[in-house]
Symmetry: D3
Subunit: 150 residues, 6 copies
């Protein structure tokens, strides 16, 4: 049995939010379990716009502070999630592909109720990636998790 299988974990919370069109139920459950959640969607051929959209939403909602340590954790969580989306290349338009993604940013313990093991940040991405021919695209997913502090 994997850690937290009977409980909510930060990664599963983040993934559930992006796997449905309207995550109201998932967000409410996550908040009750002690997590903070921001979510949204972004489509682009420019990876920097995907990163900027997630950073902007996170700062606007205050899920991370504007100070550099939390900003640093957010950036690396996003990059790690993009590795799952890009599968070998952190690039979109420069290798002639585009992505439409839903994103979630979740802050909390690794496992609901866990105390004293630090606060963490999870970024989940889910959507479609493909070429410029409409409909020629398939699903992709990514998850990045970094520590915020003790």
């Amino acid at each position: 049995m994997l850690l937290g299988d009977r409980l909510d974990t930060i990664g599963k919370v983040a993934l559930r939010v992006v796997l449905v069109e309207d995550p109201t139920v998932e967000v409410t459950a996550a908040m009750k379990a002690g997590f903070r959640v921001v979510h949204g969607h972004v489509g682009s051929m420019n990876l920097e716009k995907v990163i900027a959209a997630i950073e902007t939403a996170s700062r606007r909602e205050g899920i991370v502070s504007v100070e550099y340590p939390e900003d640093h954790a957010l950036y690396h969580s996003i990059l790690d999630a993009l590795h799952g989306v890009g599968r070998g290349q952190l690039a979109l338009g420069s290798i002639l592909r585009t992505a439409g993604l839903r994103f979630s940013v979740v802050r909390g313990p690794r496992v609901a109720g866990e105390v004293g093991r630090g606060e963490w940040l999870a970024v989940a991405l889910y959507g479609h990636i493909g070429g410029p021919v409409k409909g020629n695209e398939h699903e992709c997913v990514g998850l990045g998790i970094y520590h915020l502090g003790r």
Copy 2:
């Protein structure tokens, strides 16, 4: 709205199966929707053992043929899913980390009921990755999707 949000898609089917400890409900629903599913779990510091475990389960259940075209699709789907798990490095023990993963292999159309757009293969991975100190690990996810044929 992303493609297939109101319907089952091959990637979401594969992800739902690995996100729960007992995926009986998810597998049954997927089969009714026209997908074939194999799932299991594997833990190792050797990436080749992770790949071999998924390939062996897939062949044993006959979800892919032993012929090279389908074997090739399976291998590349696994590698793509491992990019999400490894986030920059397709390596485990050689960079001092280990992974415990649940896997699913799903065969079918990209979207439940879609006809004439080809048959596809999706490999999903979900679990934990971390160092040799027990408990020092966090969640990871990956999804790889390749075409099988028209």
Copy 3:
């Protein structure tokens, strides 16, 4: 002895076509051996233009269908071939280099006359890569092969 040394193989067919300025003889021999061939050349500092040129030529000549499964095979064959050209980085202008390339796209069995082992797609690239100083460039080659179906 490697597979197909006495016979034409899809990869060698693709490579022979790009290794000569006028591949009329090579293309004719390949067609007689049961392969379909498209070829051309492209020079750019933008990798997406290289990819687009190969995709456009392939679709115009009908060597792949417009449906996504074959489009997906073509895209991944091109990316794999570009790994040989880029040797570590799938990038041109963004790391201050340019490429002039001949390309071939070949469709058929892995080995001339092979039956029942699937239909495959090979993309070969050959040309020069280098910096913006004229003449400061050296040769490069790449080959990508993906399955099309049974």
Copy 4:
């Protein structure tokens, strides 16, 4: 027209040698055109054995000196050629694949007869790569070129 299309170039010389089972004709022509050539074959699941086989043959035939500058050029030429073979990962057995390769190492000018533009080293690789199931493998190619000195 690409550089040297009417002449022998170091990269095309290296590729022609590995594309045939018996390269006697190609080697003789290359030597007449002013190139030195070493060739052989190696099969392994260990990348370091592939590298060692090429280095050993090159030193034994004296195509590079034992001094570090030429050894350094040889090593980087091999690694660059392996990027074409590995297409994204410089790894064989650790991602459950094996390779059977012919190799050539060619020393000379970039273009036959070119004077004063430096001496160069080219390493070409051609063969098959695939999984542990016999016959489930496809062709691969790689070319690495580095300067030796003025």
Copy 5:
């Protein structure tokens, strides 16, 4: 002028320690400026042994806690530093090369005296990397920096 040019910064402190054979002076100055420092050396063809040596020294000296958040920061700082050493591949023996490295782990603010911008961890590596032929090696360096918390 770069940040902290007139002051000690965590990265320069870490680099100065590995650039000399006996860093007693550098370590003493760093401690006076408010940094904590661990240093040592390790030589191996196995990257996991390099990582383990740095982790073990860091834990033994208590520069990071055994809790996962700080362990996670240390691991990623080491990996980032190894990118500078490996230059494209996080691999040693598997691509036939070995490394002899001095390492330092430094904990403190980004700039000496900076308050309220978080606590950081820097890992610096300096040494030699090369093939199995004795003396055929050149210098390499790497620096990885991660946040520890606010």
Copy 6:
């Protein structure tokens, strides 16, 4: 003891020059020890501008010839140094980060006074890398070394 610990080595010379704001002392000492040195600084979100700035300064000062062999050594030294700066991705603006860097290019033997082991080129980079929020950046370093000839 690492090679050259009691002597100047080309890598340490290059690193010392970029680690201080005014490297007059370091450059003078390096020249007395038999090295040639060029240095400068560049800030950009475009990696190609960083590469171009180093190449332009190097050619203007004549530290490398305009001929391709030395140009090739310079380019690969820069790319290798950028691996330390980029830590996994040779990209700046396309993944929403910017860098301010000091660079040095040093030409000479691997170790001061070493004769007959070839002439080498070292490129060192030191500076800051981070996101578009002012002040949210940390230090980075890189070192690339290539042979010039015997």
